[in-house]
Amino acid sequence: MALLEVDGLDAFYGRIRALEGVSLRVAQGEIVALIGANGAGKTTTLRAISGLMRAAKGHIVFDGHDIGRLGPAEIVRRGIGHSPEGRRVFARMTVRENLELGAFTRTSGAEFAEDFERVLAIFPRLRERLTQKSGTLSGGEQQMLAMARALMSRPRLLMLDEPSLGLSPILVQTIFRVIREINERGTTVLLIEQNARQALGIATRGYVLEVGKIAFEDTAANLMASEAVRAAYLGGGAA
């Protein structure tokens, strides 16, 4: 039984179909990469899973329970953390306040302190900036904060929407190293990326979305080796 099973998801923006029969699964302990071009439906898929938008058809089963009709607050509570597209840190609040809001669904003070330390151990840069307004952080630091904030809900599944977007190559390396570290510490990860090579480099398995449908699914290694995927998403070997 996979931790997350998505089956036959259809979703619309008004009359425009964004997803058509999307099915995927994420097993406990995996890093799964969902790659595809702009507008392929990657973000929509995550939004449907976290309850931010309702799918027209299909099932979403998390940890054996159908969560397709639950609201986002309940879904966070059940253990899916979602670091949004474009980071969306609370710019006028301090780093600490952002992390506190990340733990909004949690009520135990002791557990909060524990999570706080655990997250700062993963992101030591943030510890130096706890009292700083997060809007004054660099792009890379904001991305780290967005991930750290999502981890504060102590998710069993962490969903990351384009964590490398807008970052310098060196920072991209750092971010992917951290994602691997988070995973090694026991959190399952579902990752959306346009940076397909990097994403498949750390993933166990991957899915390729093309205009709302899953075009390929395989182990990360096989996807990397596939001619079709290389041509379309890995820069045809010219990267």
Binding site: I75, P84, G135, T136, S138
Partner: protein
Amino acid sequence: MTRRHAALGFLGLALVVYPFVDRNNSHVDFLANAGAFILLALGLNIVVGFAGLLDLGYAAFFAIGSYSYAMLASQQFGIHVPFWLMLLIAPVVAALFGLLLGAPTLRLRGDYLAIVTLGFGEIVPQTFLNLSQYTNGPNGISSLDQPSLFGHAFGFSATPYYYVLLGLIALGILAARNLQNSRLGRAWMAIREDELAARHMGINTTATKLAAFALGASFSGLAGVVYAAKLDLVSPDEFGFNVSVLVLSMLVLGGMGNIWGVIVGSFVLSFINSFLLPQSTSLAHAAGFVNVDFTNYRFMLYGVILVTMMLFRPEGLIPSRQRAAEFHEAILDPALAAQEQSEYEGVAR
């Protein structure tokens, strides 16, 4: 005991003994009216200052509070609910109407929300005006029940109302402070900053916004009861758009989101409105300028104050920390800006 506590204690004591020192009933009357507006401002501050939901029709809840007292404690229907009980009932009634307004606006933001609340602010007084078989239409409802305490009727002195309002404001400050520091308060702050991000955090934005509307409205329910009992009359023209704008101006002047700020803001505007302008008009009359009436310049003066504030101190006299940041965030570290720039260029390559 910090200096801040000592100052607050001293202020409280001064306010309690004030009516014994100043025997001029018109001064106490002014303070009592100002007190009602402070309650209104504290309530609107929850909606606009804490949760960031722009409400241009807040006077509607003031009307609902006032009319609940007028209808449930007068000869109008022969119902005579005691004043003190009404202080419990009216906030609940106002809060229910807060939910009623909140529910259809949940998906609206910014300008659109403001327009709907503006409409609500117009509908409510119009309804009281047109339901004349229950409300006497434009004449309003008069001869409301006199509050009494231990058998002593309040009478026509403003002093008992002054003390009731002083107590309610103290409770209101406590309630607002506790709300601001609560889980709910943090949720309000989060949706004010970024609603979508707040939803990602697992904040139930529907419940959070409804709570802001309901709790904010409950304050004006209280203010309405005391104000109606004190005036001994309610009529639909007391609750127009200008009242909503006045209370909002109090927040802007004082500093949205800051409890002490909105209290200072509402006191200053009340002082100008009900004291400074009428007093200077009488002085001018006494000096022989019989044709001047400074009270006519009230709205011009508000306009000047608001424009001046927006130009020189948009965060208000006593700003909340967040608002101050909001208006001065252009001052970024240039080194950081350069770093940001190079990071974006890194992607373009």
